[in-house]
Symmetry: C2
Subunit: 135 residues, 2 copies
């Protein structure tokens, strides 16, 4: 058992013993694991340029070197069903997980992040950010 | 070492031995773990109603019972810095991970999902969906 699992086990056991709501939490809910989510969608200046998209994907991947970024998922538009509610007009998705809001703020000023913005911002036309915290 | 970690270790070792690009992959990149991301943002009909928000959060949490949903994160707006690019006008965030696009499509028709839509759709005014796949 890794230390993180052990801590989780102890916390879960304590919660179960106390008869709290934790016992009703579904197993596949990741609640409280890196509770701050930072999701950034990028729209390219040249939406048809696969080269620009790949450059931006490569740029976003450099952000994984930042220690405060606990997990990173870099994506492109998935070929799911086209529905009115689905926005597939973007080009690159950057999904990050942080331990807390302070880490997310500090990440903004990390030299690797600043370098990424300097290098890659000429590629994008628009950025939309959603910052969520576990409910 | 858990079986999943062991598989990852073996795969990484093989990749390192083969001198592939895998050796350059940062450790905190979750690439290829449930590669399909389904992120849904909900705006409430009554944005000031904490009760409606909590009802919707509870409704989204029921979706964790669907086996095809490999991971689920239910969130509310995080108190990160207000910047032009940050959209904090929504109320509830539903972030899901799937093994593949077919599972995401099948999820749409799962009885638990259909029940959720029936029960909770009167609460929301607008929905925006971003479907991404690991790049």
């Amino acid at each position: 058992m890794k230390p993180t699992n052990r801590r989780k086990f102890i916390a879960t056991s304590a919660a179960l013993a106390a008869g709290t709501v934790a016992s009703a939490t579904p197993l596949n809910t990741m609640a409280n694991k890196y509770p701050v989510i930072h999701h950034v969608l990028f729209w390219l200046k040249n939406p048809s340029s696969k080269e620009d998209r790949d450059k931006l994907v490569a740029g976003v991947k450099t952000l994984a070197k930042i220690k405060l970024v606990r997990e990173l998922r870099v994506g492109v538009v998935a070929a799911t069903e086209k529905r009115d509610v689905v926005d597939n007009s973007w080009a690159v998705s950057e999904l990050m997980f942080f331990d807390n809001i302070k880490d997310q703020a500090d990440y903004q000023n990390d030299p690797i992040h600043l370098k990424f913005v300097e290098t890659c911002s000429p590629l994008w036309e628009k950025v939309v950010v959603y910052d969520a915290i576990d409910a």
